[in-house]
């Protein structure tokens, strides 16, 4: 190390994906001086840049909005909130239109020449967002993973510390407010673009007293060709699934039948073919998602004619809904000066206990990023830049390689029969083993500051996840327990988790919570 890079700013945004770039843009638009740090490269980092996504973009028509809000409430287990949904629909509509106008995003057009703004290609979207952020005057530090937050003696967040990978220099940014937009945690599973998503923001937030919500809804698994990383599940709605002997795998499907695939994969390979796609659909697929075809074209597979082996890849909280709990509609965390957005934050407000990827997550990233950025700018203007007194110490190091800890966590959170197909008798011992991994983490790890932070964060996230999964003694949303089948009306409430050495959970009564809709209410249009 050759010294420390010291910066001073109004707003620090950690994370340069959709949520982080919208946060940085809104803060800069509000007149704030903004620094954005990204573990990778803002524009290529994270789940969106490598991919393509639909966006929950709905015209401001009362009936269309009502249908949009009602469509997912059941899947999400009625834990979402109509007020938040309406706000997200408004903000997303405005933001996507701004992406078209200010960002000059080249949306496709329909037969009548109108732009179709319900989806974006990841590389193009994030290229435009990087440009917008730079034009707004934001200082970007790429390849600069976060290693912790700085606080005042009163516990007010006052900036963040990290390291610049390519320069070998640590950084300390003193800031009037911090937005955590570091993405979810995919546990290094290999899901497309998600290797940077290791829960770093959740760890940093918990260290300064924030807590999490919805962590039981963190077991999304995507279909991918067995040899690849391309976790794009949507097109598998055109697929049939087969056993190795060529017989059809009954009950298997890309959405509801995913557990059949998982159970089969425990014992034998599962093959697949996109045999329901006709010539027109095949052409449209190539245009809609060119990256979907990379693993096929490059391995000499014709996915419409050939059988190919598939696997299920864990996506953790990236396509789950759990994350840092929000204390207000401005995406405040309850810790003064700290805001959270995108996959780093809980998405239960609009998704409850289920997301299918894309769509709502993309809308949430844009909306929550925008709110967090504006609120962080306002907070910094009102309170100035406090002087950080704690949190600046080096990451403790020890002997156990960080990668060994990552492998130990993966052994508990990736297997289908622990995390996807849940049972208390399997979750409990897994959590006990993870508690043991945490003891190893606390004894100190070897591998460099930010790699140590990644391993620490994954361990913490895994423990919150299984603590919440054991606490929720029913099945709801994506959380399905073999030993607690069926939804229990008494559990129509959220579960908060937190703590590091001592992990805790709370189940506030539904009366105290902002959501109020019961299933019967949701079924009747307003």
């Amino acid at each position: 190390m050759i010294g420390v890079l010291e910066l001073d700013t109004d707003v620090l945004v950690a994370g340069g994906g959709p949520a982080g770039t919208w946060a940085a843009l809104r803060a800069a638009d509000a007149g704030a001086d903004v620094v954005l740090v990204d573990k990778g490269w803002c524009g290529a980092s994270g789940a969106t840049a490598a991919s393509g996504t639909s966006v929950w973009y709905v015209e401001p028509d009362a009936e269309a909005r009502e249908t949009a809000m009602a469509s997912r409430e059941g899947l999400g287990g009625y834990l979402s909130d109509r007020g938040w949904m309406a706000r997200v629909l408004d903000e997303t509509y405005a933001g996507v239109n701004e992406l078209a106008d200010r960002g000059r995003y080249p949306f496709p057009r329909d037969d009548e020449g109108r732009e179709i703004r319900r989806g974006v290609q990841g590389p193009e979207y994030m290229r435009r967002m990087r440009t917008l952020v730079r034009r707004a005057g934001v200082r970007i530090l790429d390849h600069s993973p976060l290693t912790g937050l700085l606080t005042t003696s009163d516990g007010v967040v006052a900036g963040a510390a990290g390291t610049r990978r390519q320069e070998g220099v640590d950084y300390r940014v003193r800031a009037g407010a911090v937005v955590l937009a570091t993405g979810g945690c995919a546990f290094g599973s290999g899901a497309l673009g998600c290797d940077v998503d290791t829960g770093d923001g959740a760890l940093a937030a918990a260290e300064v007293g924030a807590h999490l919500s919805g962590m039981e809804f963190s077991n999304a698994y995507a279909i991918a060709p067995a040899h690849s990383t391309v976790t794009k599940t949507a097109y598998y709605s055109y697929a049939s699934f087969y056993r190795a002997d060529g017989t059809v795998l009954e009950g298997a499907g890309s959405t509801r039948g995913r557990s059949v695939i998982a159970r089969t994969l425990l014992d034998e390979p599962v093959l697949c073919r996109l045999d329901h796609a006709g010539p027109a659909e095949q052409v449209a697929m190539r245009r809609g998602q060119p990256n979907f075809f990379l693993p096929f074209d490059r391995a000499g597979i014709d996915p419409f004619r050939d059988l190919f082996e598939i696997t299920l890849v864990a996506e953790g909280t990236v396509r789950g809904t759990g994350g840092i709990a929000l204390a207000g509609t401005d995406c405040a965390t309850g810790v003064p000066g700290l805001y959270a957005a995108g996959d780093a934050a809980s998405r239960e407000d609009i998704c409850g206990g289920f997301t299918g990827g894309g769509s709502h997550n993309a809308a949430w990233a844009l909306s929550s990023g925008s709110w967090a950025g504006r609120a962080a700018a306002a907070h910094a203007h009102a309170h100035g830049r406090p002087f950080p007194t704690t949190g600046a110490g080096p990451v403790p190091s020890g002997r156990t390689p960080a990668r060994d800890v990552v492998a130990a966590v993966q052994a508990e959170v990736l297997p289908y029969d622990i995390n996807l197909i849940r049972h208390g008798d399997r979750l409990r011992p897994a959590l006990e083993r993870l508690d043991g991994v945490w003891d190893t983490v606390r004894a100190g790890l070897d591998g460099g500051s930010w790699r140590v932070r990644e391993a620490t964060a994954m361990t913490a996230v895994a423990r919150w996840m299984y603590t919440a999964a054991l606490a929720r003694e029913e099945s709801r949303g994506m959380h399905k327990r073999e030993d607690r089948p069926g939804t229990d009306p008494a559990w129509q409430r959220r579960i908060a988790v937190g703590g590091l050495d001592d992990v805790w959970f709370r189940t506030p009564s539904s009366v105290e919570l902002p959501y109020r809709r019961a299933p019967l209410d949701a079924a009747s249009p307003a």
């Binding site: 490269w41 496709p108 290609q121 590389p123 290797d195 940077v196 949507a234 329901h276």
Partner: protein, 114 residues
């Protein structure tokens, strides 16, 4: 995983060193960059998309191939072309209209799950 960096095509702009989100490449003073940490590659294909001269090749496999393929045997630049990036091309985003997505019985209507 990243398998090829064509030293014939590379112009030494170091853009791959910048854009790779997992920092796989290293700058080399006075020479073209090198694949320094192949094991960190997350197979996101974005280096290929950003390379202005189609000098990079990412294999679909999540693990390294026994040996890198020969340049002549792979379609260098095919992902960038599919995205419509590069001089004189129509951005792929402009024509990115996917097929309608079939929903399984019992699924509510809604936007496509991409």
């Amino acid at each position: 995983m990243i398998e090829l960096l064509s030293t014939d095509r590379c112009i030494g702009c170091d853009r791959c060193v910048d854009v790779c989100p997992t920092d796989v490449f290293d700058r080399v003073p006075g020479a073209v960059p090198v694949i320094a940490r192949q094991g960190d590659c997350q197979t996101c294909f974005l280096c290929e998309a950003w390379c202005p001269v189609d000098a990079l090749w990412v294999a679909a496999e999540r693990t390294p191939l026994p040996a890198p393929p020969a340049e002549a045997d792979v379609a260098l630049g095919s992902y960038r072309a599919a995205l419509g990036w590069g001089q004189g091309r129509t951005p792929g985003a402009r024509i990115a209209i996917g097929p309608p997505l079939i929903h399984e019985p019992g699924d509510p209507p809604g936007p496509p799950l991409v």
